[in-house]
Structures are given as structure tokens and as C-alpha cells.
Symmetry: C2
Subunit: 541 residues, 2 copies
């Protein structure tokens, strides 16, 4: 009989679009989530952790950020139910908002109203992976369900500002931009597009691109079309000249307030963003800041709202949106959240999804250097808004809700780019193995070190080659290695190597400056822990 | 045209076997994971977070704890790849060990050897849900990959003991039981079952049941069979009398060491566990503990190992297992982990899975009361062992590895059962809304409270009914409510209600003892924060 062919070895790879996180990547994110949870908690929000898996029915087949509603979810069918019929379709959650709607509908009789909850964890998108585009990523949300008051929206904007500062983005390096979808809808109504969903959507997409293509680009996109940077021709929306003017007027409304330190205005045609926002932020932090900034803001705001008033015309929805914006501005002012942190910006759209009122996003205003060495602004790290229809799907009752989602991975990337967090963690003290029969002695050493709160381990690889043990300590970024061979044991001492100092000496051409500072010490065995503590202290641990 | 029928409303339910966690359930688990990560880190382990989704190929179609290898995983196929052929099969991870093997095989050239990593997060099992059986649950693992030394196993047992104490299980309330699969295999070999996989597996399953069915039960199960408590007849393994004696001798080996304070022995026939372990642990902590406990342990251990020696006969594997157990015992002794924490126990089997050498599990030894009011021992909360073949699947090279997995949810349940953690968290200070036009004033109040580090919020529901606002504060478990109506505003004061004291007064029949302690205070507006701080301090916050 022929021998059966062996199955080929499995490939050791993550599925496309998924990735692994190591060491500091994990602990820094955990620390950031903990900090954010602390702020959310202080604002009265309670933790919720819903299951990662939902029924497709409960999730609804839509995503907030994509145009095509039936894609983007990892789903599978449960095994057949005994007694006939196929099983439920299940899916991985694609965000934390759809599960919140399900949880609130399911438990509404036990939950307080309003229900303030925060949630953090991975979400999954079945999208085509690409560079920087992953199919599993973290979200960190806070939502208030059951309150229709714009005070709920204002509070979430304030909390977003506090959160960014808590994780290490100083005031001036970020701005929270606020708008209201009702104002946008009012402008569309005034343009005669209230019933034209397709063109309304196209206009909103174009407004969303203002920061990238500038005024001239918007004019082209709304009119006859535009040749983009790659040479492709993009069809225009085909609006009349008067309609185009209204949109451009809307987008330029924020210039009205530019004199009042409000928001960046000019972006050049190449899509490179200007540094105006950053300069404004610097100015706001500087000593030149006039005492009257609060008054200026109120003036600027009035000017902006007045200008928008003209653009929404007689639209009742538009007027309501402007009223809500004005209320939010007052509430934020009262809470001490000035224009150096939160501004009104009519160009904020937040996708085509489910938002029904206030929308907001947080942008980091500092520049980073991209892979080609060019300066770039970092961009958006969080966003959210009011959505009043999600719970209704389940219960038939309209339940007003508003919330924010923070992109934790982007925020971490920003802190790395600014050098505010380090890429590597300190390794353990490594107790080397000189004599494999004396493992119990070495185990006793690490037990003592750990009992003193020092991170420590015995080398557990093959101890034959001592060089490999030091290479291991180096790879682990260890601060100290401990050596106890037969001679040391007999003399009742141990050798302690300061690996940080050792590396410095190795880097220095002249040994002159180190000659009085040896990097290896001989100490009595019973002083080992104290000496290691000394060395770690000297290294700034 | 007939109106299209509306789709029925989706049901707001979790899929079967999944659940949601609220408030303290989430934060207490997060706190426990953080504590555990702290211990793992001190032992030199690095964090790893692999993706939740793996290719089915990389996971392998087996689970460690079930007999049938092809079940138990949530899997789905990727959409067809353009250009022909179906997509990969993907699946949710069912544990954290299979992904570790994949990660190590994928990144082995960049990782240090040995690679010590910890991981924590949900895993998913596609099993039939039932009471207390969920399809998503947390695991919290630590593994050392690339070390064949039993020092690695001993260290993980020590770390497990430290971890349990760190999360709040005091010494004496737990025991880590250690065994070695090679000893088991040696006994099976000596019984002539080396080639009889089926009956070997049946013997191991029976040994696993010793704690539940006792000696007589084991005899029946190994011989002709047994009528279980529910009245069902369970077929026996059909061993000869001599073979049965050897297994019983093996299981009773630990009695040899009973005089040396090692492990519980007698369980009664009804499956109720004895309290011996707990009594032993109490004795070990008591003042009666003889100075010679260390020596006694060594003696007890020698007796146990000597007894087992007779049972493995000439089996080389059995002898090696005993040698490894003896080494581990020495290493643990050296690290100060005595029999009040870690014991050798031949009845530990750890399923039928992939373990190849040392196996261990942590058991909580205190009693809890079950839903029917009967005392029960809490049982196992963690387990692990050595598995040397998992990486080989990918690379062809054998890579020795050992690790432990802690059942975080069970551990939390244990702490709740012992009353060591509270079920509810403190709610926020609630600023009530007396005048909805003065929301900005109330917002300013919470901003001040939060700036002082006090958890606080404005009531964001409909403010019309003041009673509802206080009901809300009650439901949130709020310590304090603040009231500022028109009168108070005019007088420049606020009313502060101590809700904790108020509840106490309401509970007391006589108001006598409270008459000098009002639960509501009138303070100048600018002393609001200070007064709230006072009250919280008095409440023990």
C-alpha cells in the first residue's frame, strides 16, 4: 500500500489585514484605555462590555461610514437547529454603537435613563485590507442614550477635549470641531435639494473634501467635474451656479470668524494643509493673547451664526440647527471650554451615516513628517454626533442618543510621532546560569529580587554558551545581569553587571571618562538585592 | 399597487451563549487583569496581543479540552479571491495558546529565545451553550516558549501562586497541584496499556474523576462500570483486577504524604468534597505549625516519589517524569514555595490534550454555598502544563514550551462569593436641573466638581418631574445631589443632599439618632465643591 501523503505544514501568518501587537504596543494601549476610562468615569459614564458576536439581525446590515450598506461584516451561519430550519446568522460587531442600541433595547427597563455608558474594545470590518488599513482595530466610545438635550452633546465635546489632554495631547495641539447636520440639511433645503437624496449626499461628500481640495476644487466638483491629482476625471454634481455659490458661501462662513481666532481657512490646491490652525493655537497659548478672547469668540460666533442664518433661508430645520449650535456654544463657554479647544466649523460632515443633529470631530493640529519626509498635519483622531433612530429599529420608540468614538490606535501613533511615549519597555534583571545543577540557587535569587518588586528572571535557555545568555539579556533590554559561578559561590559573592553603563562604555571611543566607573561589581551574596536596587536607581528606573 | 410589507423588527437579544457585562463587572475584571499583568511582568513576561481572527489552517482543527477534534470553532470562508478559487477559511481563536504557536513560528527570528509572553483577552468556543457555559470568555495566559527546563515549569507554578495572592486569594485559600504526564504514561506502560490509546485515555479520564467519585467509584469505572447519581449506567473500562489495583495504588500514593501535610485524601461517595484541604491549610497558617515543616515536606515528598517509583516499574518515561517532579519540588522549595502553596498531586491529569510533561492546576480550597444552600468547594481556577509539539506543526522543529491559563471570570466569581469585592460602584454626584434655561449654570457646577477630581454629571433627562431626577440619582447609586433653584440662585447658595445619609435615615424607624445630623445642607455657591468633598470624605469615599 502506498504511504499516505503527509498534509503540508500550515503557514504561520495572520489572516490578511490582521496583525499582532507586542510588548510596549500592548501595554501602552492598555494604559491609554485606562486613562480614557478614568475621564469617562469622572463624567459619570458606566462601563459596558457587550459580546463581540451579535446576530446579523440585531446589528443591522449597515455601516456608518460606507456608502454600500450590505458589505463590511464578518458573518457566518449557526449550525442547523435540531428539528429543522437553519441557524441564526451571527457576525462580529463592526462598531460599538450598534451593540449599544441592542443592549439598550434589551435592558432598557433595568438601565437608568439617561443611560451613560462607555465601551472599549476591538471591532471588525470585512474590508479590503491595504497599507495602514486593518480589519480589526480598537474603538473607545462614550454615549448618552435617552437624552435629547444638546447639553448631552456639549458635554461629550468637553469630555473629548479633557480626554485628549489626559492622554498627553497638550492644549493647542488639538481642536474639537463642532457642526450640526440640521444646518447642512437647511442649506440643502434652501438650495432646493431637500427631496434629492442622491445629489444631497454628493454635496455632503464634497463638503467633506473641502480641507483637501480647497475652494476651487469644491467649485469644480459641485459643477462640471474635476481632474484629480492622479489624472483621473471625477464627474461633477452638476449644480447650478447659484447653488454652487451657496455651498461655497457656506464653507467660507467660517472665514467670517477667522478674525476671531476660530479656525483655519486656506488650504492650497495641492491638498497640502496650511499651518494656520497650528499658528492660531500657538497664538492662543502665547502671552499676546488678549484679555478679550472670550468676548471675541462670542462676537466671532455671532458673526458665523449670522452668516449661516442667511444661507439656510426659511428652512425650519436649518434654523433649529443654528439654535442648537448657539446653545452648545453657550454651554461650552460656561464650562470653560474656549476657542483654543472647541470651535464651530461648518465643514464638519462626519460621513453619510446615521447622524441627525450635532456632529463633531477632534483633530490633532501639529505637523508630523510622512514617510517621504514631507510635513503633514496629523488629522482626525475622534468623532461622533447625535443619532436618534438606532434604538427605534428594535422597539419602535424613538430614543435620542449622542456619542463619541476615539481612534485609540491613531492617538497612540500621534504620541509616538511626537516622541511622547517610548517604543520599548525596560527588560528584566537576568540571573545567568553558570552551573546548571545549581538552578535552585538561581531561582532563589530571582525570588528575592521579585519579592523586592524588581522585575527579574533566570535565564531558561540552554546555558552552555554564556555569550548567548548576555545576548539574550541585551535583546530583552535588560538593565542588569547577575553572575554566580563556582568561585563566586565559594567566596559567598555575586557579580553584578550594569548593562546600561556597559553599553555606554562600549559606545564611547575613549575609556577615559569611564575609568572610575566600572560596569561590573562584586558584592556579597546577601547584598545582591540592595546593590541591584542601587544600580536601577542610578539608571533612572 | 399594494403597499410593501414592512420588515419585522429585529429582536434585541445577544446570540445564544453570549452575554453583556455592565459597570463594576467590567471595571473589576479590568482591574484584575491589570494586577495579573503586573505579576507576569515582574516575572519577566512580555505582553502579546494577537488578532482575534486566525486562519483555520493556522489554528489547527483541534481544541485542547474536548474529545472530538473537529468541533468547537466559529469559522467562515473569505469571499472568493478575484481570479478564481475560494478564499481562506478564517476562525475566531478558541484559546490563546494556538495563536502563540503561530506568532512564535511567524516571528521566531525577531523574538528572544526563550520567549516569555503573557496574553489576555476573550476566546470563543462554538459549543452548545448552557447554564454557566458561555461561548465567549476571558483567558489570561503566560507561557515560556523555547525552554525545555523544568525550571520554566516550576517558575510558572510559583507565579501562579503569587498571582492568586495578588488578586486577593490569601495563602491557605488556594493550592497549586502539580503532576507530570510522563509519570502517568509510565504507570500506563507498566500496566501494559502503552499501545492501547483508547483505554489509556479512558484511564486518564477516570483518574480525573477521582476527586468526584472517590476510590470505590474509580474501581467501578475501571472495572465493570457504575451506576451514576442520575441513575444512568456508565460502562467500565474493563481492566483486570491487577491493573485496577495499580491505578488505585497510584491515586492513593498521595496518602503516603498525608502525614506530611500535603494534600486532601478522602472524598465521600456522594461526590461532596471533604474539608480536609481547608483544615490542612488552616493548620499550616496556625501557630501550631512545627518548625520542621520544610523537612516534613521533603520527607513526605520522598515517600510519595518512592511509592510512585514502584508503580512506574521499569518505564523509562515514568522514571524521567519522577525525576522532573523531584527537580520541580527542589526548585520550588528554593524559591520559598512550601506545601501551603504548591503540592505534588498524582491525581492531576488536565484533559486529554497536548500536554507532554509537567501539568498543574490551581484550586480554591474554601467553601462557598451553592444555589441550593449546600456547601461546595469552589474548585479549579487555573491550569496548564508543558506542551512541546505545537510550534512543530508550522516549522517542523520541536520547540519546548510551558504555560498557564487563568480563568479570570471564575476567579472574579470566587472573590464575589467570598465578599472580597463589591457588586456595585459608586455613582456620580448628580447636579439636578431646576430651571432648564439655566443649563449653562449647572454645566459650570459639574465642570468645577470634575476639575476637583469628583465624579459628577448634570441630569440630562427631562427635568420637568423633580422626583424623577432623585430617582435617577438613586438608581445610579449617587452619593450626593445638588439643587439650585431660582431662590437659591438669588441668594447665592446651593442645596446639597447627602443621599447615603438620607437613605440611612429613611431606613431607621426612629429619627432620634439622626436629629442632629441633617442630610441636606445649604452652602454658599462658592463653597459647593469643598462641602461635597467633605460629605464624600464622611461617607468613606
Amino acid at each position: 500500500m502506498a504511504k499516505q501523503k503527509k498534509a503540508p505544514r500550515p503557514k504561520a501568518v495572520t489572516p490578511k489585514g490582521f496583525r499582532d501587537f507586542f510588548g510596549a504596543e500592548v501595554t501602552q494601549r492598555a494604559e491609554m484605555l485606562r486613562t480614557i476610562a478614568g475621564v469617562y468615569h469622572r463624567y459619570g459614564f458606566e462601563a459596558l462590555e457587550s459580546s463581540a458576536v451579535e446576530t446579523v439581525e440585531a446589528l443591522g446590515k449597515f455601516l456608518p461610514d460606507v456608502d454600500r450598506p450590505n458589505e463590511g461584516v464578518f458573518a457566518w451561519q449557526e449550525a442547523d437547529v435540531p428539528g429543522g430550519g437553519g441557524g441564526d446568522w451571527l457576525a462580529l460587531r463592526y462598531d460599538l454603537t450598534a451593540p449599544l442600541a441592542r443592549v439598550y433595547a434589551q435592558h432598557r427597563n433595568d438601565l437608568p435613563t439617561p443611560y451613560r455608558r462607555y465601551a472599549m474594545g476591538p471591532v471588525w470590518r470585512n474590508e479590503k485590507p491595504g497599507p495602514g488599513r486593518f480589519r480589526q482595530f480598537y474603538q473607545c466610545d462614550a454615549d448618552t442614550v435617552g437624552s435629547g438635550s444638546v447639553a448631552a452633546d456639549a458635554e461629550i465635546c468637553a469630555m473629548l477635549a479633557d480626554t485628549l489632554e489626559a492622554v498627553g495631547i497638550p492644549r493647542g495641539d488639538y481642536v474639537v470641531r463642532v457642526n450640526n447636520r440640521k444646518v447642512l440639511n437647511g442649506v440643502l433645503e434652501a438650495m432646493g435639494l431637500a427631496e434629492d437624496e442622491e445629489r444631497s449626499a454628493a454635496v455632503m461628500r464634497t463638503i467633506d473634501k473641502f480641507d483637501k481640495v480647497g475652494e476651487a476644487g469644491v467649485r469644480e466638483l459641485l459643477g462640471k467635474g474635476r481632474l484629480d491629482a492622479s489624472g483621473a476625471y471625477i464627474d461633477g454634481v452638476g449644480l447650478s451656479e447659484e447653488q454652487v455659490e451657496r455651498v461655497v458661501g457656506y464653507l467660507k462662513a467660517k472665514e467670517e470668524t477667522a478674525n476671531y481666532l476660530v479656525t483655519p481657512t486656506a488650504y492650497d490646491e495641492q491638498g497640502d494643509v496650511s499651518t494656520e490652525l497650528r499658528l492660531q493655537a500657538e497664538y492662543l497659548r502665547s502671552d499676546e493673547l488678549p484679555e478679550t478672547v472670550g468676548e471675541q469668540r462670542v462676537e466671532g460666533q455671532s458673526a458665523l451664526l449670522g452668516h449661516l442664518q442667511g444661507l439656510v433661508g426659511d428652512s425650519a430645520e436649518g434654523k433649529q440647527g443654528l439654535d442648537e449650535l448657539a446653545q452648545m456654544a453657550d454651554l461650552l463657554e460656561a464650562g470653560g471650554y474656549g476657542p483654543d479647544r472647541i470651535i464651530i466649523d461648518p465643514s464638519v460632515v462626519r460621513g453619510l451615516g446615521y447622524y441627525t443633529g450635532p456632529v463633531f470631530e477632534a483633530e490633532l493640529t501639529f505637523e508630523i513628517t510622512d514617510e517621504k519626509g514631507r510635513p503633514r498635519q496629523f488629522g482626525s483622531v475622534a468623532g461622533g454626533g447625535r443619532y436618534d433612530d438606532l434604538v427605534k429599529r428594535f422597539t419602535g420608540q424613538e430614543v435620542p442618543a449622542t456619542g463619541v468614538s476615539i481612534g485609540v490606535d491613531r492617538l497612540l501613533a500621534a504620541l509616538h510621532a511626537k516622541g511622547r511615549i517610548q517604543g520599548e519597555t525596560q527588560g528584566p534583571v537576568v540571573v545567568t546560569v553558570m552551573d546548571r545543577d545549581r538552578m535552585a540557587d538561581y531561582q532563589k535569587m530571582v525570588a528575592e529580587l521579585r519579592a523586592a518588586g524588581i522585575r527579574a528572571e533566570v535565564y531558561l535557555g540552554n546555558p552552555k554558551n554564556f555569550g548567548n545568555q548576555l545576548k539574550y539579556a541585551d535583546k530583552r533590554n535588560s538593565p542588569v545581569a547577575i553572575i554566580e559561578g563556582g568561585d563566586e559561590k565559594e567566596k559567598g559573592i555575586v557579580q553584578i553587571k550594569d548593562l546600561v553603563l556597559g553599553a555606554k562604555i562600549a559606545e564611547t571611543a575613549s575609556l577615559e571618562e569611564w575609568k572610575d566607573r566600572p560596569s561590573q561589581f562584586e558584592v556579597p551574596r546577601d547584598q545582591m538585592v540592595a546593590k541591584v536596587q542601587d544600580i536601577l536607581k542610578g539608571q533612572g528606573q
